[in-house]
Symmetry: C2
Subunit: 586 residues, 2 copies
Amino acid sequence: MNQHPDFLLNKIASPADLKQLSLAQLTQLASEIRSLILEKDSVEGGHLGPDLGIVETAIAWHYVFDAPKDKIVWDVSHQTYPHKMLTGRAYGWLDPDRYEEVTPYSNPDESPYDDFAIGHTSTSIALATGMAKARDLAGENYNVTALIGDGSLTGGLAFEGLNNAAVEKGNLIVVINDNQMSIDENVGGVVTSLQKLRESNGQTAENPFKALGFDYLYEDQGNDLEAMIKAFEAVKDTKHPIVLHINTLKGKGYQPAVENKYAHHWVLPFDLKTDKTTVPSPQGPTAASTVIDVVKDELEHKKPLLTINAAIPGVFGLDEIKKNYPEHYLDVGIAEQESLTLAAGAARNGAIPVVFQNSTFLQRAFDQLSHDIAANNLHVVMLVAGGGITTNSKTHLGVFDQVLVSNLPNWKYLAPTNLTELRAMTKWAIEQANGPVAIKEPVLPLPAEGKAGHDYSQIHYEIIPGEKVAILALGDFYQLGEKTQAELAKVGIKAALVNPQSANILDEAALDRLAQDYQVLVTLEDNAIDGGFGQKVASYLGDQNILVKNYAAPREYTDLETAQAIYQRMHLTPDQLASDIQKLLG
Amino acid sequence: MNQHPDFLLNKIASPADLKQLSLAQLTQLASEIRSLILEKDSVEGGHLGPDLGIVETAIAWHYVFDAPKDKIVWDVSHQTYPHKMLTGRAYGWLDPDRYEEVTPYSNPDESPYDDFAIGHTSTSIALATGMAKARDLAGENYNVTALIGDGSLTGGLAFEGLNNAAVEKGNLIVVINDNQMSIDENVGGVVTSLQKLRESNGQTAENPFKALGFDYLYEDQGNDLEAMIKAFEAVKDTKHPIVLHINTLKGKGYQPAVENKYAHHWVLPFDLKTDKTTVPSPQGPTAASTVIDVVKDELEHKKPLLTINAAIPGVFGLDEIKKNYPEHYLDVGIAEQESLTLAAGAARNGAIPVVFQNSTFLQRAFDQLSHDIAANNLHVVMLVAGGGITTNSKTHLGVFDQVLVSNLPNWKYLAPTNLTELRAMTKWAIEQANGPVAIKEPVLPLPAEGKAGHDYSQIHYEIIPGEKVAILALGDFYQLGEKTQAELAKVGIKAALVNPQSANILDEAALDRLAQDYQVLVTLEDNAIDGGFGQKVASYLGDQNILVKNYAAPREYTDLETAQAIYQRMHLTPDQLASDIQKLLG
């Protein structure tokens, strides 16, 4: 039920309704939108600081421009809650029963006011430039805006976008939303550069946007509705590329989010009175803490480690390294390419880079994995989080990291099945010196204790023997292998179980033995089936007399489904697998 | 035999020997180096303009700095001929018998003066920053230089590099080699920006490098030895990041290369007197001309095509489109990410982008293929050249494009076996409107005539029937399939032959029939085996009673081997395949 029938927002069916409002009413709207963001986020979690900071910008843009004829591309689109509320989707915040009906990122399936499904950063300028090109080819006439944060500017594609946008012949508006933050503090020369612009109220001649050829306007009061309306009116219908640089306050309207912007970029459900999360913390060691423990231990033993991440230290628990070993810590910004190429340079000169990547964002660095690291066979260690089948939006899936890493020469991609093994693999990867090693941090919780090797330079399978069928269960799907084994035991089938340890190095001798001793071999992996582990096994055993069946995610983008629903649909539950295997055994 | 025993260069065993020379002698050395570049290139082909333009810079750098203690990373490293001649490898130019002993890019296996195998652009600043980080962690003290051209600056990784380099605490020298060219003319705001700097002799306040926080020095006379020695002396041992921006003349010393820089970036063997290539042009239609014919035809039919490439129009014959349909042509610079994300924006707004990629450089745009295009299921057409097993340097291999494209949802990856089919596939890809389609332009010459479909929305295999063994031969390896079939016929085995048409969409019904009718199925593809076509077939047929054997390139970086040697080693010759198949048939 609508919890706020009195809100003015109820009268905004589309942006056209905004244009009838007075400044006082628009100000009231801003206040309502802020309270709704907080209300829903406190229950559901979500992005907080970016949305609180952009409220006036979103209102002013829709007040001045005419969407959906005029276009706006929101970079990352994690800041689109106000935009969504203003474009017919306020019910997704007003009514808790309808919270799930509005998705967290821009979504063309949801509204004609959203042009792209977007979740990765730094794409908006290129997308907007393409839209402007198509508009001009069609001889049409409307405004195209890209809105990008200062954090997203650190990604190379943002610069490629600026470079090309700068020489466009027609209307193209690039709004730089400068809130002086990435997720953590923003980094690099761009920070220096934007600071000079802010401190001179946009007047310094050291203006990188003007240097590239852009027209430029600065608005210091990015959270002032009247100022923002004037700013947008000033750039509307401009017939050449222009940068509108606005200064906004991330988290505005919620003091804890202003005071600790890093912790409030994205939040778990929390108590609005105390600001404390209502979700209990995991007890005991996690995959992240296990890896950090190894890193600390190696640092204490004077290893020349350089831990590197691309703007997401929190995912990996790197804050502790940042604080206690600052010279061994580097955040390169939202710049995955840089994180790996810089690592290559450091490795060549004797440091041991340990690079922390999120599977979905690692997609931006395939060439760096290959050309910069693997072709030079450099000792780079890479931890990959988030690689698996998840409930995420389709823009944030992590099912392609094995495609990226596993198919390259020289990379060893290890996949632990328990935290003891994760620890051993991380330690080995750091202490060996023979080329690059990647390790898949599980997305499913792993048992803390278990078997582990101490040398992964060669992969030797340990086979828990059985009859007729052998299950090769990779990484965090080893547990699925155990459960499937248990299901099969109920019907009298004793399946063999194997931990393959690596997503891309096969123990060929063991596979040959398995082909001799079993009728059916099943592979399980928490990843896309295409380009993954199972297909390598199927290919290797293709000319031997054993049936091989690969289980993993089919080639599709899942989108905000529950994990259970996805598993069910993909035949990845123990009972489905057991039933399939019985059929295969005839 | 050494053709120039009289050259001063013979006395330069290492850069230390340079330091004894007078300016007049250094000038003589520059002249010798230029004549050697021309002499060898005229016989062997190779990069020309970039090397002629950098001669004084290379001499001055080695005169001032102390390699290999001081480091220099040459971006792309196509301009390292002078550097190689100065670091003990002059024999590779002086003596035609030893031309092959020195490789065309920087190569740590060849010399301690080369730190990385490099062939892709825009990596040098990140690599140098990593080297500087490692130096500082180790408490050592020397100079680290990255040298990058203005063309390479258009790649996003170069900006990520600058952003991070700008805030380094110690010595880091970034030389911007501004020759006002990429391969073709350089593009974008960076051109504007560098022009303002040159025209003000480095004095304009609109200095993007200073804006980022770099110290900055400009040298207008980048081909003057004395000036360059002074410039390097001025930046040597600087304890903070500094940009040295130098103005050089691409092609200097060879007038045809100065007058037509684009045609002389890289050259085939040519006649030094006439500047005419000594290699005969291919007769009749090529893959590139076939595609361009379709594009022109669609443009004549008023299709809103936007042809896009990333700084390599010549590879695809796009010069004709640039000239005759300028509004339908876009070169985004060396910016593969931009080329695809911009295409996504254009597609969303009703244009039909046709993006031209080179397999090896496409590696820089996996996320754009996935997040920006495929997850939005946008109608983008992509032609991929250079995808296959080649004699290239390990930095320029094109065996991973199927890994990149084939494993993503929504992308159809088509692989023609003759030019008629290439034409039909290109036309269909443009005229359909249901998501992205990629087409593999063959690396091997294809027959001009042959069978083709007209609708590739579904893939239906046409099977040339045989007995016992079926050969699925993809794309330009269809010819290998035919030859293998002929070899088998000699020993009385009549193999079936199938053109699978697509690298990633299987005709499952046809595969089921093949599994019924044949004992052995062999896949052939001009690509890496891992993550490729054959593994998909092996996986699909894994639980059926047919043996499957995949043939393609194993997981390794080949490096300047002849194609025949590679094929032989990989068991990809008709007689090897025929012999293997006989064994499989038992």
